[in-house]
């Protein structure tokens, strides 16, 4: 082994690794430890063992927040991934017109600030006469009094959050799938054509398995992100979300602003554990090793 190369490699790595250690790795370890303490930020933390977790399990907001977070993740991630695959497959077909323009249009929601997205959708979904969606539904003959409260704390609020979230992340997954579709060997399609496969059969038996590593990547990273859902609820519903619109991360944020830092950390650890469990389940059931991810 070349000694000067080893020295140079560490010189290139030293600063980036120091930043990651100082602002991500060490604070995470400390955060996990803090979940066993009571601390308000001033004075010294007091060790209380599992007390935060016990209090958390017994607290009113925990069960609904956990339920909503899981529903959010389990609904939005598969729909986004599956929908993006179908759209990308259509855009990738040689007979499809307007592929470049559509790719750009679909990508726009991904790059726009969540704050602007919250403004726009609150406006579109507003229950007042000006709200675009209810206006349109009325035009189709529905009674205004029977229309759902899209921005309330009931189940429709959760539907709104999930819908806007899917709308927002679809384009990113489409662009990644388009990149993956370029890697499916042409010879596979030629073979399918020789066997007389229909285009739907080809889509299902050639294209879908061909982009399996990307599906795997999108499901895993999508789940990790979905379990941390926060800003979309904040801008659509507000920090005081309850009932069907509360999520774990928002609960955590409220506890943090009340200076209950140990309790807040325990919620962070719950999110981390959920992430690890769901990633492990996906890894096993989707066969991570063979998918090459």
């Amino acid at each position: 082994m070349n000694r000067s190369q080893s020295r140079n490699a560490w010189a290139f790595l030293a600063f980036p690794l120091a930043i990651i250690a100082l602002f991500v790795a060490l604070p995470s370890l400390a955060g996990i430890v803090l979940s066993f303490f009571e601390w308000s930020g001033g004075g010294s933390p007091r060790f209380i063992g599992m007390e935060n977790y016990r209090a958390l399990a017994a607290s009113g907001p925990f069960a609904p927040a956990l339920r909503n977070t899981l529903i959010f993740a389990l609904v939005t991630v598969p729909i986004t991934t599956g929908g993006a695959f179908l759209i990308a497959a259509a855009l990738n077909a040689e007979w499809f017109r307007g592929r470049t323009t559509l790719r750009t249009v679909l990508f726009i929601p991904t790059i726009v600030s969540i704050v602007a997205i919250g403004f726009i959708w609150r406006w579109v979904l507003d229950p007042s006469p000006a709200g675009l969606l209810n206006h349109a539904l009325e035009w189709f003959g529905l009674e205004r009094s029977g229309l759902p409260d899209w921005l309330g704390h009931g189940p429709w609020g959760l539907v709104t959050i999930m819908g806007v979230s899917i709308w927002r992340s679809l384009g990113f997954a489409v662009v990644l799938y388009l990149a993956a579709l370029g890697g499916v060997p042409r010879s596979m399609y030629d073979a399918a054509a020789v066997d007389g496969a229909t285009s739907w059969q080809t889509l299902w038996h050639i294209t879908w398995p061909g982009v399996r590593p990307m599906t795997f990547f999108l499901l895993i990273t999508g789940m990790i992100g979905a379990l941390q859902v926060f800003d979309i609820v904040l801008v659509m519903i507000g920090t005081s979300a309850t009932g069907w619109t509360d999520v774990l991360n928002l609960y955590l944020y409220r506890e943090f602003t009340l200076n209950r830092l140990g309790y807040s950390s325990a919620l962070g650890v719950i999110i981390l554990l959920l992430t690890i469990i769901i990633t492990a389940i996906q890894w096993r059931s989707l066969g991570g090793a063979e998918a090459g991810a």
């Binding site: 980036p16 602002f23 991500v24 499809f96 790059i111 602007a116 000006a130 990644l176 370029g182 941390q228």
Partner: protein, 286 residues
Amino acid sequence: MSERHAILRPPALSRWLIHAAVYAIALTMLIPFAWMIATSLKTRGEAISSTPTLLPPGWPWQWQWANYSQAWETANLGRYYINSAVVAIVVTLLAGVHNALAGFALAKMRFTGRKVTFTVLLLVMMLPVQVSFIFAYVICGWLGYVDNYQALIVPFLASAFGIFYMRQAITSVPDDLLDAGRIDGFSDFEIFVYIIVPSIKPAVAALAIFTFIASWNSFFWPLIVIDSNDMATLPLAVASLSSQYYTDSWPVQMAAATIITVPLILVFLLFQRAFVEGITLTGIKG
């Protein structure tokens, strides 16, 4: 970019339906933004009218352009624009260099601890910010960063994701090129500058756009580390615009939303070719 597939040719009716479905979805992506811009040019009364029109009433010179100056001045957006731009530009440039250098070391250099370092980075990528932010905040406090540019910049000067992404891209550069450079007497750093960087330009551009967008739109962390009004970034300022001043002034809110959105769309349109190529090159493809 990718090879298109002539074989996948369903009957005409299906093709027509597929076009209709995809274009309908794309329309839902465009209409809200068109609506945002239209509303930003209406009066309050026109905006909450029960018979809304897509175009603001009257000729363009009669539209409510004053909503923009009102949003800009009332929310003091000039100051926040500068904050957001300084932070996003500095982070994008410096993080780009650091992540690429670290990615180069992990992809192409042989040294003890390479495997362990890479594995640890992959684990770090899984850590949710919710577990780390309290002590990241405490550390920023010790360093005197809270409520300063440093708090928004220094923690982002490198990232596990960025290093991973660069490592994936650099792995695809042929070793022969590097060996040729070594024979010419290049140092490791010269190889990085003259051989690696030019070969992975699209990936560098893609990561730069990712980083810029993430920094510009960043919400959770600034919400935590920025207390004073002066240091807020655009998303924070615009969010507080809705909660404090203008709960029922939709047109001014939409003007503010347009103001923070336009730079990103411009950046994306300018660099989108590089961006799409960069994603294709990174090894997360199928």
